[in-house]
């Protein structure tokens, strides 16, 4: 039963709204989006964009020189036509002299053209080099900073949102650098030059042309306001259609299982039909700007020709002058249009640059907060001492957590979604910093350890399984870059991944693409475990590492890893109780507090929450 258009629009316009990330389950949700709300300082932004270019100031000066040269040459070239036409049309002068004059002038003209074109070429060649390098630097700066921003930042951003910084925003800056700056400058020079030439040629005709300027502006304003309105209507319809497409293409398999194809087609055709109508209007109003403005200048051309012609007929103006004036009046609209078009580019570039720079200005994770000597190695004595933490001020997620873990021990966390299990491990490697209390490893406060060193000593298998484009071999080796092929295979065996890897098309050399979409969730988890297993880190964190792996395979993994865990401190988070049963200590978390702790038998004897869960009397949410 297909839904109505109104229902669909309501549903998918909100579904298409930005900022709705897939970050379900864990971690912070609120916290204001700190990089869009800042007040804009246009001048500062402009200067900062310029600073990327200014590094190449010597070349930039050359660019300006070439530009002035070429613009001047072009203006001079068009003016030269006046004496040429007047001379050849001047029947009073003997023909031979006129031909000789024509020849001379044309040689001069060729010279002027060559200078102008050479200038244009050198100018744009140099400018493109500067701007592309600047854009490359901006992208690099942005990426480097993004990689180093704390997770607090990433939690509040969708990937799509950040991607558009690189694509739309940086591209807009690039567009501005490539063209706008130069063409606006040369446009202004052109405009002023043409205007001067026009006034020199004929002041009255110039006035006619000038009358058109306010009409131009009024017309373009009207069209722009109209098209903007229809454009946003179109965007809304497009958003709804895209939202629908995204949801249903992702759920396509369910659609098929329920024989729901016909309904989906019907619903989509409603949205598509709505889009069709709105897109038509938007495209129409977007498309009439060109013909209306272009033909307005044809009107001005006609009037110039008529009035200029009449002046010539009355002997008040020369034919050569009219010829170049007509050219000027046709040209005149061009820099006006160009500048107004480029203004739009400049504004969107500025807006983009503000967003880009806002990210660059954010505080990255400091490499090293305090000066403490780095120990040669860590053993893995982990102590949490009265730790309290909240992602958002005033909303504590963990309250007064204390625990001690020794090398060789396996500590498990059990609890409902949102109880704070993942948060504890996130604090260990300083994805987030704690609000109160202290975390030490081998007696050293983790805040005193260099961040990179700390993280190198904690191998993590994260809840969300992520893989990189590259071979299976490379993906496992990500855990320790100098691992040999044999070590990779050994790690894969330990994680019970070897047998399925060998069944892949090219075994360990199979290229994983698109985050391993062609692997099952369980297989991805096995690869993630192998990746962590290959690392020599003394602390191992397994966050729902085997949730999609069957219990028997899980047991094989456990056996395989027993040896590995002997000298390591292992933290395990799991929904499934069979996963944590043989841990040295199980912490049952509820609402950010440890409500029960002890080993499996202790907790069963306690007949508390763990007992209820284990006997199936209650369910983890």
């Amino acid at each position: 039963m297909a839904r109505s258009l109104e229902t669909l629009q309501k549903q998918y316009n909100s579904a298409a709204a930005p900022g709705k990330g897939p970050g379900s389950g864990r971690g912070p949700m609120a916290a204001t989006n700190s990089f869009t709300g800042k007040p804009a300082d246009t001048k500062k932004t402009m200067l900062r964009i310029f600073s990327y270019v200014a590094k190449y100031w010597k070349r930039l000066i050359l660019v300006f020189m070439f530009m002035a040269l070429s613009t001047g040459a072009m203006l001079a070239g068009s003016y030269l036509l006046r004496p040429i036409i007047n001379h050849i049309a001047d029947t009073a002068t003997p023909a031979g002299e006129r031909v000789a004059y024509l020849g001379r002038m044309l040689l001069v003209l060729i010279g002027v053209y060559v200078v102008g074109i050479g200038g244009t070429y050198l100018q744009s060649r140099l400018m493109i080099g500067i701007s592309r390098t600047a854009i490359q630097n901006i992208r690099n700066d942005l990426f480097t900073r993004l990689e180093r921003l704390p997770l607090r930042f990433h939690d509040n951003q969708t990937t799509g949102e950040l991607m558009s910084r690189f694509t739309n925003d940086v591209d807009n800056i690039g567009l501005m650098m490539d063209q706008s700056l130069m063409s606006m400058l040369s446009g202004i020079i052109n405009l002023v030059g043409t205007l001067v030439m026009m006034v020199v040629t004929n002041i009255w005709l110039t006035l006619i042309t000038l009358v058109f300027i306010p009409i131009f502006i009024a017309c373009s304003r009207f069209i722009i306001s109209k098209s903007r309105r229809y454009y946003s209507a179109q965007q809304a319809a497009l958003g709804a259609a895209n939202g629908y497409i995204e949801e249903f293409v992702a759920g396509q398999k369910v659609v098929k299982v329920f024989n729901h194809e016909a309904d989906c087609i019907e619903e989509f055709s409603l949205l598509n039909g709505d889009l069709r109508g709105k897109q038509m209007k938007a495209m129409f109003f977007g498309g009439i700007m060109g013909p209306i403005m272009g033909n307005m200048s044809q009107v001005s051309y006609a009037l110039t020709a008529g009035i200029g012609g009449a002046l010539c007929a009355l002997g008040r103006f020369d034919v050569g002058g009219l010829a170049i004036f007509v050219n000027y009046s046709r040209q005149f609209a061009r820099p006006v249009n160009e500048i107004s078009q480029q203004m739009a580019t400049v504004f969107s570039a500025l807006a983009g640059a503000e967003r880009v720079f806002a990210i660059m200005d954010m505080e990255p994770e400091a490499a090293h907060d305090k000066n403490t000597a780095t120990p040669a190695r860590l053993d893995g004595h982990v102590i949490l001492d009265d730790v309290t933490f909240g992602y958002v001020p005033g909303k504590t997620v963990l309250k007064h957590i204390s625990l001690y873990a020794r090398p060789g021990q396996k500590i498990a966390f059990v609890g409902s979604t949102g109880a704070g299990k993942t948060t504890i491990t996130n604090l260990l490697n300083r994805f987030y910093d704690i609000d109160e209390g202290k975390i030490t490893i081998d007696g050293i406060d983790i805040q005193d350890l260099p961040r990179d060193f700390l993280r190198q000593n904690i191998a993590m298998v994260l809840q969300d399984t992520h893989l990189f484009t590259g071979t299976v071999m490379e993906n496992i080796r990500y855990g320790r870059l100098d691992a040999t092929d044999e070590e990779v295979i050994a790690a894969a065996k330990m994680a019970s991944a070897d047998s399925f890897i060998r069944r892949l098309e090219k075994g360990y050399d199979t290229v994983i693409e698109g985050d391993g979409a062609n692997l099952s969730q369980g297989q991805r988890q096995l690869l993630n475990i192998a990746r962590a297993a290959i690392s020599h880190a003394p602390i191992l964190v397994l966050d729902e590492a085997t949730s999609s792996v069957d219990t028997r395979t899980e047991r094989h993994i456990e056996e395989g890893m027993d040896h590995l865990m002997q000298n390591r401190t292992t933290f395990v988070i799991a929904h499934r109780l069979s996963t944590v049963r043989n841990a040295n200590a199980i912490m049952v978390l509820e609402n950010g507090q440890i409500i029960e702790r002890g080993d499996h038998d202790d907790l069963l004897a306690l007949k508390g929450r763990y007992y209820e869960l284990y006997t199936g009397k209650s369910e983890l949410t």
Partner: protein, 576 residues
């Protein structure tokens, strides 16, 4: 695929659009002509009246041109938008007919891009095509005719310059086109690099691989810059080259034309008009080459859409022999079934499976990750087809059912199950769109979902967010089961669909199955041994093969894998 399908219904727009643009072209060709008459006749004869009249005619022409341009925009957008909307509809419909294997081939993201960006690219291209591609050559031809009419002798200059320009253009396009495609490729590569680094940020940070990612990005970024420089270099070279050619041509025309004027066999007005036409001709040549350059993106999009449209759904029911058959009993038989994902890999996902399930039975399937459980059951509703062997439902080969009837008879709760945005009731009615309130609550009760649904403030009208992320995992699974139950399937398949439901609730669901679905076949894939222990038949799978079939009591004595699974879960717990 045939693109003409999207043009035919709108042929009027496709025709009228360019026709309107021709009005503009004609005007553009006529304007200089009238201007030359002002000079030749009006100025020469000092005839102000004639000049005023011609001027009025020119203004009128300009207004007509404006009308033509606006009309061109109107029909152009009608044609382009309708073209795109039909195309979008067809691509979407095509995806509806994709089999699971077809869907697996493309990622969700790439299908979405094709339906959104690529279609939009093509729409803009069609619009541009209608307004520019015909206008520009039209202008070229019009200006050429006008130039030859004005002075055929002088127009011969063009016989030299146009081929010269065409050759230069051709060379530039040949060099430029692949460079632009290369740039687009590098752009895509950079984007996927960014996307990967951002989605994997936690992995990157926890393994301290920021520098490595920076290097990777730096390489991709550098490659993009080089590719962009190479591509833009063509444009940078082309523009001045073309300008030079244009200027030299106009110098040549001025020289030869000037001599004609001096010799007295060409009026000065004609000379002026001729110069304008030369500019028009050269400008339209330049425009054409720019348009060619810009069409590279549209070409890429059209290829990607074509790929989807020409994808052959590998499962269809056109050759089904028994289209009216419906599933009535729920018997399932596998005969020597073999299946592999990679057609050239040695080991199949399933190897020579033989299996008989009787209508009404409850069957549990258990086995390790990746052993082929999901694949096995997916073949019953023909989500995948066997490579060898056959599957019979009620004694009829599944390939002989119509897909609709087969899937109506088989309800399946997928492992990676999805709820859609909308109310709970909307979602449940996927199973049966005409389900009454009572049917719905019955199904929800059987799936042990009624209770928590009623606890929501809005009950069955509670709005679910996309993917159902606002209910817990266990609740989501129970809603998915209720949705499948509403179908009243003869065969119900649950693929690991109660993993997040607690064991007590799961037991109640099983009890409801026994009572309410006694004559339906129930096939349950599970990881928890308690989920399958009571089944009439338990199938133990390993590495694409069935290693044991029997009841719990039989398997616990004979099957090693089953024992292992049992002990991995039940140790320390008294056996139920």
């Amino acid at each position: 695929m045939k693109w003409s399908k999207y043009v035919k219904p709108y042929w009027k727009y496709f025709l009228l659009g360019p026709l309107c643009m021709i009005v503009e072209v004609l005007g553009e060709v006529l304007m200089p002509l009238w201007y030359s008459r002002i000079l030749n006749i009006g100025v020469e004869n000092h005839d102000v009246g004639f000049i005023v009249l011609t001027c009025a005619l020119m203004v009128l022409t300009a207004l007509l041109m404006m009308g033509g341009g606006v009309g061109g925009a109107w029909f152009g957008s009608k044609a382009a938008v309708n073209f795109a909307a039909d195309l979008r509809r067809d691509v979407y419909e095509k995806i509806q007919h994709f089999s699971f294997a077809n869907i697996d081939k493309y990622s969700t993201g790439s299908l979405v891009t094709r339906l959104t960006n690529d279609v939009t690219q093509l729409m803009n291209f069609v619009n541009m095509l209608l307004r520019m591609f015909l206008r520009t050559p039209g202008m070229l031809i019009g200006a050429l005719i006008a130039a030859f009419t004005l002075n055929a002798q002088l127009a011969r200059v063009l016989a030299v310059t146009i081929p010269a320009i065409a050759i230069v253009e051709f060379l530039i396009i040949r060099v430029g086109f692949p460079r632009f495609s290369a740039m687009q490729e590098k752009m895509d590569h950079l984007n996927s690099t960014i996307q990967e680094s951002l989605t994997n940020i936690r992995v990157v940070k926890s393994f301290v691989r920021e520098k490595r990612e920076d290097e990777k990005f730096g390489r991709a970024n550098g490659e993009l810059k080089d590719a962009a420089m190479r591509a833009l270099g063509v444009v940078i070279f082309m523009m001045p080259m073309m300008m030079l050619m244009m200027n030299l041509t106009s110098v040549a025309v001025t020289w030869f034309g000037g001599n004609h004027v001096i010799a007295g066999d060409m009026p000065i007005g004609d000379f002026n008009a001729f110069l304008t036409y030369i500019t028009q001709i050269l400008m339209s040549l330049l425009m054409m080459s720019m348009l060619f350059m810009n069409s590279s993106r549209a070409l890429a999009s059209s290829k990607r859409i074509k790929e989807v449209m020409e994808e052959v759904p590998d499962i269809d029911d056109t050759n089904a022999k028994n289209k009216d058959a419906r599933v009535t009993r729920g018997d399932v038989t596998f005969e020597h079934v073999t299946f592999r994902y990679y057609k050239n890999s040695e080991n199949g996902v399933l190897n020579d499976i033989n299996l008989t399930i009787h209508g009404g039975e409850t069957v549990g399937i258990i086995g390790s990750t990746g052993c082929g459980k999901t694949t096995l059951v997916s073949m019953i509703p023909r989500l995948y087809d066997a490579d060898q062997g056959r599957i019979l439902v009620d004694g009829i080969d599944v390939k002989d059912y119509s897909l609709y009837h087969l899937r109506e008879g088989v309800g399946m709760v997928l492992q990676k199950n999805v709820l859609f945005s909308g109310s709970i009731a909307d979602n449940l009615r996927w199973g049966d769109e005409n389900a009454s309130e009572a049917d719905m609550t019955d199904a929800a009760k059987s799936a042990q979902a009624d209770g928590f649904i009623r606890n929501f403030q809005l009950g069955y009208e509670t709005q679910l967010e996309q993917g159902g992320v606002n209910v817990s995992g266990g609740q989501r699974q129970r809603l998915c089961i209720a949705r499948a139950l509403l179908k009243h399937p003869k065969i119900l398949i649950l693929d690991d669909s109660t993993s997040a439901v607690d064991t007590a609730t799961e037991a109640s669901i099983r009890a409801a199955f026994r009572n309410e679905l006694s004559d339906s076949t129930k096939i349950i894939i599970a990881q928890r041994i308690t989920s399958v222990m009571e089944a009439d038949k338990i199938i133990v799978m390993d590495d694409g093969a069935i290693t044991g079939i029997g009841t719990h009591d039989e398997l616990i004595k004979t099957n090693k894998a089953y024992q292992e699974i049992y002990h991995s879960q039940m140790d320390g717990k008294e056996a139920a």
